[in-house]
Symmetry: C2
Subunit: 244 residues, 2 copies
């Protein structure tokens, strides 16, 4: 517990913590971050896996075997309805825990597709559940991670239900910007890994509308955008728009 709180204060400073583990959602529970003592969850991490751009880690209909922690790279999570409707529900970055969508029935209901070549840590699910039986902290962290998924989904719901397209796009850009900041990159300038199509699907709009809104925001000097490259020019104005 003590070590946990210390870590929260200065995660990037730990000399023995691999750089790629800095933002891991299992921070403090994984062996890679705790070389001094054995940890239950540590034994869950068996191996790593490389997925290339466009490949999927799992697909809707697959049986739940592993959860995954995205170690580097980025992905898109796509949910498909029985009638064939599709939507991107999330764009996870390094540190994110993937695969919780299968927890209800043991069958995945989403596709996880790599936006660029990405590295994953593999956590055999059965083993992980077993470990949580003996480790209260691990179990609670798993709960929190699941709950975070719900709340993030709810935020997106609010976005689709209550916001105009301008507000949604501004909100999306600010969200990426904050993620970049929390990962140690510049919040002012970054490269999007997803297509306009992906963004449109995520925000419940059409590609052309996404383009037009971005053009409008650029016209108003709030940001510069050229293809995948984004430069934010007026954070306050963007934040104001994204707040409704």
């Amino acid at each position: 517990m003590d070590i946990l709180s210390t870590r929260v204060d200065s995660p990037p400073m730990q000399p023995h913590l691999p750089r790629e583990c800095e933002h891991c959602s299992l921070s403090g529970l994984c062996r890679a971050s705790r070389q001094d003592e054995p940890l239950p969850l540590a034994t869950s991490i068996r191996s790593r896996k490389l997925v290339h751009r466009g490949e999927s880690v799992y697909r809707a209909g697959d049986r739940l075997q592993n959860l995954y922690v995205l170690r580097s790279g980025s992905m898109k999570i796509r949910v498909t309805s029985p009638s064939g409707l599709e939507q991107i529900t999330d764009f996870p970055l390094a540190g994110a825990l993937l695969g919780l969508d299968a927890l209800e029935s043991g069958i995945h209901v989403c596709d996880a597709i790599a936006l660029e070549d990405s590295m994953l840590c593999i956590l055999p699910f059965a083993e992980l559940v077993g470990n949580c039986q003996h480790d209260l902290v691990a179990a609670q962290q798993l709960h929190r991670l699941i709950a975070r998924d719900i709340n993030q989904c709810r935020r997106l719901l609010l976005s689709l239900g209550c916001m105009t397209t301008d507000e949604r796009v501004a909100d999306f850009v600010m969200g990426i910007s904050e993620q970049m900041a929390s990962h140690g990159y510049s919040p002012r300038e970054f490269t999007l890994k997803m297509t306009r199509e992906d963004i449109a699907s995520h925000l419940g709009m059409k590609v052309e509308t996404v383009c037009r809104v971005l053009a409008r925001l650029q016209e108003a000097s709030l940001l510069n955008v050229s293809r995948r490259h984004v430069e934010i020019r007026n954070v306050d104005a963007l934040r104001k728009i994204s707040s409704g």
Copy 2:
């Protein structure tokens, strides 16, 4: 385990199972349904609570103390963004587990408001987590219940992101109808407990649009609707619309 599967086959037939517990999401884990042997989760249920129409069980900002199982009645779950946007994310019926929104941070992020006088079972959260430490089945069931919330949220997301207003309303009505059926009521005829405003908020539209869509569906002889009373006249056509 054996008793569990028996129960699934014929839950309403158990003579010792109170009628209001028939659709409980804790079915098989709660003492009320298992008088023969002690069960870990059973000890979590301490007391019951009555909330009147319009009153809230918990509100955004409240500290997580209990989870609740809705024993009878119905509620609406409302999420509020920092900037004041509001949306109804769910209309739980009897048997639903409430309060999981607080799992991420220990603070509720939703309001749970009674649509009619309702009875709740109270589950002290700390005790429940402790019990899950010693009961693998209980822990997994809790996982499933949380995961169900995520997937339901995702379904609504698909609805808001990909469907027209007609499709969303048809989908909503069919969803209510199926819930009614699974609770032993007629799927063809039922009374809505929520206002048009609530429905509109849930589906990401305006009150007037909800009214107009319902009028359109009635015009097409798919259903009759008068105030809160709904009678479905063409299930197949409605299902077809709700599937896109």
